[in-house]
C-alpha cells in the first residue's frame, strides 16, 4: 500500500543528518542539496539487510533442492542485487547445464527478470557474490534459490557423490510506505 505524503510532512528521501552535516554543508555557504536516490536504488535510513547464505546436498538426478528460502517480512519491500551460487565436489562442468540454479519468487521467476529461472553457471562464490541487475521483492513473497540436477544436460545429470550446491543472496529491505505513489509497475 502506498501512502500519500501530507503537506508539512518530512520528505522521507531527504537525509536530515546529511543535510545538517557542517562538512557537507559548510556554514556560510548556500546549503547543498543532499543527493538522495529512490529507495529501490539506495537504501534509506530505515533499511534492513538481506544476506542469506546456505548450502545443500546435490539432489538425485531429476530432483531439485531448495538451498535458500525466506519470506519478505510484513511491512517491507526490497531489492535483491547480489547473488552467488557455486558447486562443491566433482562431476560438474561449468556451464554444461547439468546443474541449473533458479532464483524464484513465489515459485516462479520475478516479473521481468526472466534469466534468473535458469542459471547454468556458478556466479561468484558465497564469499564473493557478484552484482546482478536485480529485481524488487514485496512483502510476504517467498524468495527461493534452488538447484536442479538436470537429466536433460549433456551428461544426463550428475551422479550424486556427496557434492554440495551453495548460494548466497544479498540486498536490502525498506518500509514499503517509502515507495511513494509514482511506482506503478
Amino acid at each position: 500500500m502506498r501512502h500519500a505524503r501530507h503537506l508539512g510532512q518530512e520528505d522521507p528521501y531527504i537525509d536530515t543528518a546529511t543535510a545538517a552535516d557542517p562538512v557537507i554543508n559548510p556554514p556560510g555557504l548556500a546549503p547543498a542539496q543532499p543527493v538522495t536516490k529512490p529507495v529501490w536504488v539506495d537504501p534509506p535510513n530505515q533499511w534492513l539487510n538481506i544476506d542469506q547464505i546456505a548450502y545443500g546436498l546435490l539432489p538425485a538426478i531429476g530432483a531439485t533442492v531448495v538451498i535458500i528460502s525466506f519470506p519478505v517480512p510484513i511491512g517491507y519491500n526490497g531489492v535483491i542485487n547480489r547473488l552467488a551460487c557455486n558447486f562443491v565436489g566433482g562431476g560438474w562442468v561449468e556451464g554444461s547445464g547439468d546443474v541449473i540454479w533458479k532464483v524464484l519468487v513465489n515459485g516462479t521467476a520475478p516479473p521481468a527478470a526472466n534469466s534468473y529461472n535458469s542459471i547454468p553457471a556458478s556466479l561468484g562464490s558465497p564469499a564473493n557474490p557478484v552484482p546482478i541487475s536485480g529485481f524488487r521483492v514485496f512483502e510476504n513473497q517467498v524468495v527461493t534459490i534452488a538447484a536442479f540436477n538436470n537429466p536433460a544436460g549433456p551428461d544426463g545429470g550428475i551422479v550424486v557423490a556427496g557434492q554440495r550446491v551453495g548460494a548466497r543472496l544479498m540486498g536490502f529491505l525498506y518500509p514499503r510506505e517509502l515507495e511513494g505513489n509514482g511506482l506503478w509497475v
Binding site: 524464484l104 516462479t108 521481468a112 526472466n114 529461472n117 535458469s118 506503478w184 509497475v185
Partner: protein
C-alpha cells in the same frame, strides 16, 4: 412507512437492482437482471453513443520457459473498454501462470501482485479454459494511445503456451462511417475523412 413515500418508491438504498452497472456493454438489462445475464435477440441494437462500437478481442500469446516470465504491450483501439478476460495455457499443473495488467497511459496497476490463472480467466483445469471472467464494471482505456501492459509468470516446471484474451468493445479505426468524434489528439490516418474512396465504397 415505506408505502408513504412519494418519491423513490421501490428504491432500496442497499440494493443495486435499479443501478445501471454496465452502461456501455449493456449486457445486463435493468429488469430481471438476476435472470437475464445476456441480451439475446433484442429488436433494438445499441444506438446513440454506442453506435459504431464493435466487439474486440485483444489477444496476447506467450511461449514461456519453465518458471520464466514475459511481458507484452497491447496498443488498444479507440475507446477500448475492457469487459471480460479469458485465459488458456498448455500446462496447468501448478497453477498455470500469474498474470498482471497495467494501464500504461494512466499509470495504474490493475493487479498489485500476479493473479493466478484460475482467478484471472475462470475456473481452469486441464484441459483448456472453462470460463471467462466478466467485469461487473467495465474498465475504459479512453486515453489517447492507450496501452495495456501484461506481465506473465509461468508457474509450471515445463514450457507453457499462455494466451490471454481481453474482450471488450471499441470504436474500430477502420470503420467507413464513424459517427463518433475523433480523439482530441486529432484524426487518425485511417479516419473516414482521410481515406481515399474506391469503387467498392
Amino acid at each position: 412507512m415505506a408505502n408513504q413515500r412519494t418519491t423513490g418508491r421501490g428504491v432500496d438504498l442497499y440494493s443495486l437492482r435499479h443501478v445501471q452497472q454496465n452502461p456501455i456493454a449493456r449486457m445486463l438489462p435493468l429488469s430481471r437482471e438476476q435472470a437475464m445475464v445476456y441480451r439475446h435477440g433484442e429488436p433494438s441494437p445499441p444506438a446513440g453513443h454506442l453506435d459504431g462500437y464493435a466487439p474486440s478481442w485483444e489477444v496476447v500469446t506467450f511461449v514461456i520457459a519453465p518458471q520464466g516470465t514475459a511481458q507484452a504491450r497491447v496498443s488498444v483501439q479507440r475507446d477500448f473498454t475492457l469487459l471480460a478476460v479469458n485465459t488458456a495455457s498448455s500446462s496447468n499443473v501448478s497453477g498455470g501462470f500469474l498474470g498482471q495488467m497495467f494501464d500504461v497511459m494512466r499509470s495504474v496497476r490493475l493487479a498489485d501482485r500476479g493473479l493466478q490463472q484460475a482467478l484471472m480467466g475462470g475456473n481452469q483445469g486441464p484441459p483448456g479454459p472453462s470460463a471467462a471472467f466478466f467485469l461487473r464494471e467495465p474498465y475504459p482505456f479512453h486515453e489517447h494511445d492507450s496501452q495495456i501492459l501484461i506481465n506473465v509468470q509461468n508457474l509450471e516446471a515445463v514450457q507453457n503456451a499462455v494466451q490471454i484474451a481481453l474482450y471488450g468493445v471499441c470504436l474500430p479505426f477502420n470503420r467507413r462511417h464513424s459517427p463518433a468524434a475523433e480523439f482530441p489528439g486529432g484524426p487518425v490516418g485511417s479516419a473516414p475523412e482521410k481515406r481515399p474512396t474506391t469503387g467498392n465504397q
